[in-house]
């Protein structure tokens, strides 16, 4: 039973681990993904999507669920499997709608907690700019910067944890490096004149 529980953690454990951020967030996103992978075929058949579209919709749904858990929008009121299937179905319908537009990143979902005014300020910039080009700027940061920014901003690793993962002396040096990396990214964005396009 213990082994089975380890392979298929219950909803409570998943929610707790995702909320804790860092390695728990990373590991349990994969666990959710593999646990309900059968949905991909269901979605493919039901919505007549290509395999790639169904997989993409499923990955989007899993990441979306993780975000909902992190933000406290999903607290386990319904079963995770039901919630995920509903989210996945919505993503499949989105895929059908977006087929023509070929947009991979739904920009508005990335920053759910950002105030509306700030969202409006960057909405036009993101829509005007090819998102691929924006994302390519991250590759120009170098591996350590990219890792620090992603670990801290996306996965929610603490500065101490990042120090341990990246081999920095301590949390303070990671903080200072993060500041420099953020600055470097802003400069790259500025160089592309992105903020002058409005």
């Amino acid at each position: 039973m213990g082994k089975r529980k380890d392979m298929f953690p219950d909803d409570e454990e998943i929610i707790q681990q995702i909320r804790s951020g860092g390695i728990g967030r990373q590991k349990y996103a994969s666990k959710i993904y593999t646990q309900y992978m059968g949905y991909v075929i269901k979605g493919k058949q039901r919505y007549r999507l290509s395999m790639e579209e169904a997989q993409d919709a499923y990955a989007d749904a899993v990441i979306g669920i993780c975000r909902h858990i992190e933000e406290g929008r999903f607290r386990g009121e319904s079963k995770l499997s039901t919630y995920l299937f509903k989210a996945f179905s919505n993503r499949c319908v989105d895929k059908l709608r977006r087929r023509a537009s070929n947009k991979n990143v739904a920009w508005e979902e990335i920053l759910p907690t950002m105030p509306d005014k700030a969202k409006n300020m960057i909405q036009e910039l993101i829509l005007k700019e090819k998102t691929d080009l924006l994302l390519a700027l991250m590759d120009k940061l170098g591996e350590s910067c990219k890792k620090i920014l992603i670990d801290s901003e996306y996965y929610g690793f603490s500065m101490d944890e990042i120090a341990e993962r990246t081999g920095f002396k301590n949390a303070a040096s990671v903080s200072s490096m993060k500041y420099k990396c953020m600055d470097k990214l802003r400069k790259l964005l500025r160089e592309r004149n992105i903020d002058n396009k409005m």
């Binding site: 700030a118 170098g142 964005l189």
Partner: protein, 249 residues
């Protein structure tokens, strides 16, 4: 809320606003400031776009990782489905295969050595770095991308370590080690990989493959179990599959 000029542009305050952690009163005061202060507006726009870029990039990367899990799981499932082929057909096929195998490879064990080749996949060359200090790294990375292993090893070797951060040093050792594996210089590869302290997951994974290739299955299994314990989802999944494959031999 009266805020002086320098305070209003503080990155912490902007971050607080963007993360939605301000109270309603603070938020409306901040937005009022923004209406009157073009500089603040620009700073907020820039910070918001930077945050969006990081999160969108990370999300795409996570999606790619998750989808690679699908491909791996699907291939395992396909293998499992084959177990339902009628027993006689399976037995007959196995018999033919076994007889055939032992005729071709008398007294040799099952193809444990093939496991290394099956599981060894080259990661893409790292992104080229933007600063000019790294010209030497660029050349080495390009040789790696072109699969010119000998040349890449030499070029990585010539990179002056003093000018690099410890993370980049570790990365150089990792790729140098991978080239040495391709050159079948396993002892050298092991020694080099052991210096890639900051790429532990990759280090452990490729070390386990070296041990496997050297038929040190005990050491390989130990290393694979270590990977599992660390919990990196990508390498854990690979390690679990390889352990399973080892047990089935």
């Amino acid at each position: 809320m009266a805020v002086n000029e320098s305070n209003s542009l503080s990155p912490e305050r902007i971050q607080l606003y963007l993360s939605g952690q301000m109270t309603e009163t603070e938020q409306s005061a901040f937005e009022k400031d923004m209406e009157q202060n073009q500089q603040l507006r620009d700073a907020v726009k820039e910070a918001a776009l930077a945050t969006w870029t990081i999160k969108a990039y990370a999300q795409e990367e996570e999606k790619r990782q998750l989808n690679s899990l699908y491909k791996e799981e699907a291939s395992v499932q396909r293998l499992n489905q084959k177990r339902w082929v009628p027993i006689i057909a399976v037995a007959a096929t196995l018999l033919v295969l076994l007889v055939g195998y032992f005729v071709i490879n008398p007294l040799q064990g099952p193809p444990l050595q093939d496991l290394m080749a099956t599981y060894y996949e080259l990661p893409q060359a790292p992104d080229l770095m933007s600063t000019d200090v790294e010209q030497a790294i660029k050349e080495a990375d390009m040789a790696y991308s072109a699969m010119e292993w000998e040349k890449a090893v030499n070029l990585y070797h010539q990179i002056p370590q003093d000018s690099l951060s410890s993370f980049d040093q570790s990365r150089i050792y990792l790729y140098q080690g991978l080239c040495l594996i391709k050159l079948k210089k396993y002892q050298e590869a092991e020694n080099t990989l052991l210096k890639a302290h900051q790429h532990q997951d990759q280090q452990d994974w490729y070390l386990s493959l070296i041990y496997l290739e050297q038929e040190d299955y005990e050491k390989a299994s130990k290393m694979l179990n270590q990977i599992k314990d660390k919990g990196d989802p990508y390498f854990t999944s690979k390690a679990e599959k390889l352990l399973k494959a080892l047990k089935e031999q």
